[in-house]
Assembly symmetry: C3
Homo-oligomer: 117 residues x 3
């Protein structure tokens, strides 16, 4: 079960939290083929001044979609995931230039996920 | 020195922060054999609506215990750590079904820990 | 583009946010040779009681500089980065004993950074 941690401007969070949640989740279902009820997200709304972006002065409110998941997906699958997240967020008016996605991978043994299997 | 980052419902944090801190720390001492004074934890209390859980609708307030540590422990040791965390949190009334533990590993060279050794 | 996530006491954040942002960024420029406009930082100010430190009772307000970057730098380069961060923060009155730096690495394929290259 991938864990999604989303840093985003508090104003955007307040306005579109449900839509953003579903947009990212749908992208995972479509490209990683996870079960549809496998949503596990934390939003971390940031206040003005808590994020510093210098590479893109005129677009300071970057959304960061941190994905933590087991090392099992091909590069092609990862790229498809990023692309689908961008498409789905784009439908909400969030531009690809305002999104960052870092992925961190670990092993199956690196999770306790609510039950010992 | 493992770094522990704990996402949890703000209400639970306010009610049991000391006990939760000790429960997780004791599990590390018992299973990783870290020094007793080696506690390094950050709590990130979340507000209602900042966490989205779909796999377990009736238990929305998951606690996530992120562990970042050097790659040096066996799978058996990791499983023992998870188990002991669950036992210790269980004594506080926190059910195993409400806990998630992702582990991220790095190397010895990937830390500056308050001093250059 | 390294992603920097900084946990720090809210009071310190309020007092020196700009200086801390620049201190860490300059260290990256000097030791990783990143482009000067490549700053991407998130501050996570914590409230009293949200961080628990037991190894250093009398210095409870540790700053954690989380660095997420591609696996491409030598150990020597990483050590130089830590050292320069400490020197630059030291100029702001922040002691090396109050700083922690964990590094997490991933691959080039583990990033979407605002554009598909």
């Amino acid at each position: 079960m991938p864990l999604i941690q989303i840093d985003l401007d508090r104003e955007l969070f307040e306005a579109k939290r449900d839509e953003i949640s579903d947009a990212i989740h749908q992208a995972q279902i479509e490209t990683l083929e996870i079960p549809a009820d496998d949503k596990f997200q934390i939003f971390r709304p940031y206040e003005p001044g808590e994020q510093r972006v210098q590479f893109n002065h005129d677009r300071p409110n970057q959304m960061i979609v941190h994905i933590t998941m087991v090392r099992r997906y091909s590069v092609a699958t990862k790229l498809a995931l990023y692309q689908q997240i961008l498409v789905n967020l784009g439908r909400l008016g969030i531009a690809p230039a305002d999104v960052h996605i870092p992925v961190m991978e670990n092993g199956f043994e690196d999770w306790y996920a609510g039950r010992i299997d």
